[in-house]
C-alpha cells in the first residue's frame, strides 16, 4: 500500500479501518483511521503507530518509502493500543530503535506490552534533533489519558496532536479539503462528545500553547488532517471545552405504553413555544454515542423512563451511566416518566442527572395514562421555568 506525502520528507503511513462499527461502545458508522507519520531525516522517525490488527498495512505503507527496519526513533504520543499496537513490530525489525514517550507513557507502554524497549523518557518542553528537523514535546495529561502528549515539528510547522482534534472517519480523503467539511465537523463533534468531553479544562490548557506556534498542519491520530480549516476546528474546540451551549434541548426517553412518550412531546411543545431547537431521541432507536453528540451544544437535556420492575428501562439507565461518566457541564434538565404502582424510575433519573452535574429544574411523574389536561400542566410548568 502507498504512503501519502504531506510535505517533503513527511508521510502519512497509517491505516484505514473501513470496517469498525463499534469502538469500545462508540458507534463508528464511517469507520476510522489510525494515523502514523514517517519523517525521513538523519534519524528516520515514526510518530505513533496503528491498532495491532492493521500492523501489516502500516508496514506496507512505510515500505513504500523506506525499509521499516531503518526506523531509528519512535515517538509514542499516547499508550492506547490503537496508537501503540504496532510499535512492537518495528522493535522486532530493529531492537535498538529508540522509543520516546513521557514518563507516564513509558510506564503505560511497559504495562501494556511487558517489554523493556529502548525507552527514552521525555519531559514537557524537551526538544530532540532528528538532523535537519527537531521535535518539541508538550505533555497534555488527560487529553485523553495520563500519558498523552503532543509533538511539534517547528521546521515543518506541524503539530502532531494525537487524539485532540481527531474524528472517527475512515475515508479516502486524508486532508480537510478532501472530504465534505460538514461531515468532518460532525465527526469531530462526536469524537469530542464521546472521548474528550470530561477533559475540557485540560483541553484548554493544551490549547494555550497553540497561539504561540506557527501551524501549517495539525496531524491528528484519527481521521483527517487539518490544513485548510484549522481556525474552524480550533474555534469549535474553544466553544466545546468552554461548555458553551445554544438555545437547544435534547429530549431522550424510552416508553412502554406511550405515556412517557406523550410526556416527552408535551416537553417538546413547551420548548418549541420558547423558540428552542428541539431534538427528539427515543433511546430504543438512537445510539447513546449519537445522543451525546446532540448534547454537546444543548442548554437542556430532558430524560424520561417509565418504571419497569422498580427500575428505569435499561436503555435509559445505560444512557445515563454513559452520560454521567462524560460529565457534560453547565447544563439544565427536566426528568419525567410514567409508572403503574411503585414509580422509582423518575427519582432514579433525577439522582443520575444531579450526580452528572445537571441543574434539575423539574420532575414529572404520571400514574398509568395521561390526560390532555395533565399534559398541559407539564407544558405550562416548563414554560414557567425556562
Amino acid at each position: 500500500m502507498k504512503a501519502r506525502k504531506l510535505k517533503e520528507g513527511v508521510y502519512w503511513v497509517g491505516a484505514i479501518d473501513w470496517q469498525v462499527r463499534n469502538f469500545h461502545g462508540y458507534s463508528t458508522p464511517k469507520g476510522t483511521t489510525y494515523n502514523a507519520y514517517l519523517i525521513i531525516d538523519e534519524k528516520i522517525t515514526l510518530i505513533d503507530s496503528v491498532k495491532y490488527t492493521h500492523t501489516e498495512e502500516m508496514l506496507s505503507r512505510i515500505s513504500d518509502v523506506i525499509n521499516p527496519a531503518k526506523i531509528d526513533v519512535i515517538i509514542s504520543n499516547h499508550v492506547e493500543p490503537d496508537h501503540s499496537g504496532a510499535i512492537s513490530a518495528i522493535v522486532e525489525l530493529n531492537p535498538s530503535v529508540e522509543v520516546y514517550a513521557c514518563a507516564a507513557g513509558v510506564k503505560g507502554l511497559q504495562e501494556h506490552y511487558f517489554e523493556n524497549w529502548n525507552f527514552k523518557s521525555v519531559k514537557s518542553g524537551e526538544t530532540i534533533s532528528l538532523g535537519k528537523r527537531s521535535l518539541h514535546f508538550v505533555t497534555t495529561p488527560m487529553v485523553h489519558w495520563p500519558d498523552n502528549m503532543m509533538t511539534y515539528m517547528p521546521e515543518e510547522k506541524i503539530l502532531f496532536s494525537n487524539d485532540a482534534f481527531g474524528q472517527h472517519l475512515g475515508s479516502w480523503g486524508l486532508l480537510d479539503d478532501e472530504e465534505p467539511l460538514d461531515i468532518i465537523m460532525h465527526e469531530a463533534k462526536k469524537y469530542y462528545a464521546n472521548i474528550v468531553l470530561p477533559y475540557g479544562k485540560q483541553v484548554q490548557k493544551a490549547m494555550e500553547v497553540i497561539p504561540s506556534i506557527a501551524i501549517d498542519m495539525i496531524c491528528t491520530s484519527h481521521g483527517i488532517i487539518w490544513k485548510n480549516h484549522i481556525p474552524v476546528i480550533l474555534e469549535a474546540y474553544r466553544k466545546w471545552s468552554n461548555n458553551e451551549t445554544e438555545k437547544k434541548v435534547v429530549i431522550a426517553w424510552d416508553s412502554m405504553w406511550n405515556t412517557t412518550e406523550k410526556m416527552a412531546y408535551a416537553i417538546y411543545e413547551a420548548f418549541e413555544l420558547k423558540g428552542y431547537r428541539v431534538v427528539m431521541r427515543n433511546l430504543q432507536v438512537n445510539h447513546e454515542s449519537d445522543v451525546m453528540t446532540d448534547i454537546i451544544d444543548a442548554e437542556y437535556v430532558c430524560v424520561g423512563s417509565p418504571t419497569l420492575n422498580h427500575e428505569m428501562m435499561t436503555n435509559v439507565i445505560g444512557f445515563l451511566t454513559y452520560m454521567r461518566g462524560l460529565k457534560p457541564k453547565n447544563r439544565k434538565a427536566f426528568v419525567f416518566g410514567s409508572y403503574g404502582w411503585s414509580g422509582q424510575s423518575v427519582e432514579g433519573i433525577e439522582t443520575f442527572m444531579k450526580d452528572a452535574g445537571f441543574d434539575v429544574k423539574g420532575m414529572y411523574k404520571q400514574k398509568f395514562k395521561i390526560s390532555q389536561q395533565e399534559l398541559d400542566t407539564i407544558k405550562n410548568d416548563i414554560l414557567d421555568k425556562i
Partner: protein
Amino acid sequence: MKKYVCEPCGYIYDPAEGDPDSGIAPGTAFDDIPDSWVCPVCGVGKDDFTELD
C-alpha cells in the same frame, strides 16, 4: 483536614496519607502542597482538584 479529588482521573488526595512518593509528607494539607506538584495518577496540576464534600 479536607480531602481533594482530581477531577479528570478521580484520584483522591488524603492529607493523612500525603503523597510520599512525590515528597509530600503525611499530614500535609492540600493548600500547603507546592504548586509544582502534580496528580500522582494522571499528571494534571493542583488547580484541577476540587474539595471533596
